[in-house]
């Protein structure tokens, strides 16, 4: 049977998917053991035991100052920032993307601006951001939004702009005006793509969150990673990164599920 036609079954899929990840873990353990054989105090590739003890302090011992469990309060703070940042970006992407995609005059006017914003590296202009938004949560969320929303806006605008011209014409013959085309034709068809765009933005969103937390913060997963990076505490960094990856993968799966659940027409096999 040709490879293009081989559809692994559900159980096999899980197994196959786990395989390379397991291999990577084994490779890591091998390298770590090798380094530790040379230098038992090696910090760069810590062994699982070191990670467990490094993490358990953060997991179970309350911080003497705040009385909170560091790991969980870090997670909460970061997820909150990420959630708000992603939420705003998604909303911006949807609204601006739709308007740009559907209305050519708006696209002509704002398209170049959006391209410009999209390509300007926001970390280079941090001072201006700090002056405008202060050092608090706003600035961190803004960095996420500025970092990911332009790409999402352009993606949605391109997707909406590529809707078959016939659909737009057809809608007009059915009496739809620009606004109605936007909300009844373009919006629902942009939704599955929007969820896909959010999925693709999860990685960059975490990057910007961590950058923001690295710049000025006193709590958060990124804060902790950068704090302990000073001491090359890979025994904390690696579990934190793994935790971030896990959280992101769960979000990714949730978004896939949502898309299939609410927009079945976009996923059904079509013939």
């Amino acid at each position: 049977m040709r490879w293009v036609n081989r559809q692994p079954r559900r159980g096999d899929r899980l197994l196959l998917g786990a395989l390379p990840i397991l291999l990577l873990v084994v490779l890591y353990l091998f390298l770590a053991a090798q380094r530790h054989a040379l230098n038992p105090a090696d910090k760069i590739l810590p062994l699982p035991s070191a990670m467990a003890s490094g993490l358990s302090a953060l997991l179970f011992t309350p911080d003497p100052l705040s009385g909170q469990l560091v790991f969980w309060s870090d997670t909460l703070a970061s997820l909150q920032r990420l959630g708000i940042g992603l939420g705003i970006s998604t909303l911006v992407a949807l609204i601006v993307g739709l308007v740009l995609g559907v209305l050519p005059p708006v696209r002509a006017t704002l398209g170049p601006l959006v391209t410009g914003i999209a390509v300007i590296p926001p970390i280079a202009l941090l001072p201006i951001l700090f002056i405008a938004l202060g050092l608090g949560e706003t600035a961190k969320i803004a960095l996420i939004v500025i970092g990911i929303s332009p790409v999402m806006v352009r993606d949605i605008a391109a997707h909406v702009g590529a809707l078959p011209r016939e659909q737009i014409i057809k809608a007009q013959t059915l009496g739809a005006n620009s606004w109605q085309i936007m909300i009844r034709i373009a919006l629902p068809q942009a939704m599955p793509r929007l969820l896909q765009a959010v999925r693709l933005s999860l990685g960059p969103a975490w990057v910007f969150l961590i950058s923001a937390e690295a710049i000025a913060s006193d709590i958060g997963l990124g804060y902790r990673i950068f704090l302990v990076r000073r001491y090359l505490s890979m025994d904390v960094i690696i579990p934190y990164v793994a935790w971030i990856a896990l959280l992101a993968i769960v979000m990714d799966l949730a978004l896939t599920y949502l898309s299939e659940r609410f927009f079945p027409w976009a996923h059904g096999a079509n013939h």
Partner: protein, 336 residues
């Protein structure tokens, strides 16, 4: 390359450096050919490699990518030494004599800092300076709220209306002091000799390759002597260093004025053998331990610090940071 066994003699070495007033002689020496001159003399090759990010340069050293690195005494203790890497401080270059400072936007004295949010690089010498400052004003770290702020962004962060207080080092310190309404309420000149700027190398490497130490000391003292000259040559050297640091010659000279350089190797040897070094290192060590930087250690004694004359602080079996005057002494004796 440096991933070879450190205990074997080699001919090629990598030294990492990052931008700081007291470390600029290194890249200048590289550009001016002083490095090559001394390396050739000892039949070795020395690469002086810039790392923009200070922490990353120390991490790379700890990871074995560099044979030596420019670092402060506190970070030498808490990063490589606490991480089990046996490290020797072979050149004590200077101490910060005002290069680190505590800044306030509203308030004229350190006591006004109580209850404020302080932007600083947490767990760095800034943190230590703040703790020492608070101590002198009868407060402790509990009386302020620290916010970890990247050293690269601290100037921008401090210009935000939100920021009230900050601790920083040069060159950022100068830029921040220039902001309207900012006052320096405490600086490192009030704790002389506690914040040292060192060149450290891997102990095994330097044991196997003493020539490296000789060359490095030779490079360092020749360059320092050159930059101290009051003539055009000296000014030219300092201007080149300023350029490398991205600063104007005037600004760089100002930074140098708050850096107490041990120009004469004899002075460096004297400072390293003086008992005050042990007291200062004890303070730094106790602070580091209290902040949890000796991961999993039962007491501050877990990381041993060795001093000239076989003196030690902490567990003498576990000495991983050694102050080694051998090469400074050779320089002082003119035996290089």
């Amino acid at each position: 390359s440096s991933s070879q066994d450190p205990a074997k003699p080699r001919t090629e070495f990598n030294i990492g450096w990052s931008i700081y007033a007291g470390w600029m002689p290194w890249p200048y020496a590289q550009q001016a050919g002083i490095v090559k001159k001394w390396a050739d003399k000892y039949g070795i090759k020395i690469n002086v490699v810039q790392v923009n990010d200070y922490v990353e340069s120390v991490n790379q050293y700890t990871a074995g990518k560099f044979d030596g690195v420019t670092v402060t005494n506190m970070d030498a203790l808490t990063i490589p030494a606490a991480g089990g890497k046996d490290t020797s401080a072979i050149i004590v270059g200077d101490y910060s004599n005002g290069n680190d400072g505590v800044l306030l936007k509203a308030g004229d004295s350190l006591s006004a800092i109580r209850g404020k949010q302080v932007n600083l690089v947490e767990l760095s010498v800034s943190h230590y300076l703040l703790a020492r400052g608070l101590e002198t004003a009868g407060m402790s770290l509990k009386d302020v709220k620290t916010v970890n702020t990247a050293d690269a962004d601290i100037v921008a962060a401090f210009s935000s209306p939100d920021a009230q207080a900050a601790v920083a080092w040069n060159p950022q310190l100068t830029a921040m002091r220039g902001l309207p309404g900012v006052k320096e309420v405490f600086n490192s000149s009030q704790i002389p000799g506690e914040i040292l700027d060192l060149l450290v190398v891997d102990t095994a490497t330097i044991k196997a390759n003493p020539n490296l130490g000789k060359a490095l000391a030779g490079i360092w003292y020749e360059t320092i002597a050159l930059m101290q000259r009051k003539d055009a040559e000296g000014a030219k050297a300092r201007a080149a260093m300023a350029k490398l640091a991205g600063a104007t010659p005037e600004a760089y000279d100002k930074q140098l004025s708050t850096t107490y350089l041990y120009v004469d190797p004899k002075a460096a040897v004297a400072a390293t053998t003086a008992p005050t070094l042990m007291t200062n290192m004890k303070r730094v060590r106790d602070f580091s331990y209290s902040k949890g930087l000796f991961k999993g250690a039962a007491s501050a004694d877990a990381v041993g610090i060795g001093f000239p004359g076989n003196k030690a602080l902490g567990d003498p079996q576990k000495v991983t940071l050694r102050f080694d005057t051998t090469f400074m002494q050779s320089a002082a004796d003119g035996k290089l």
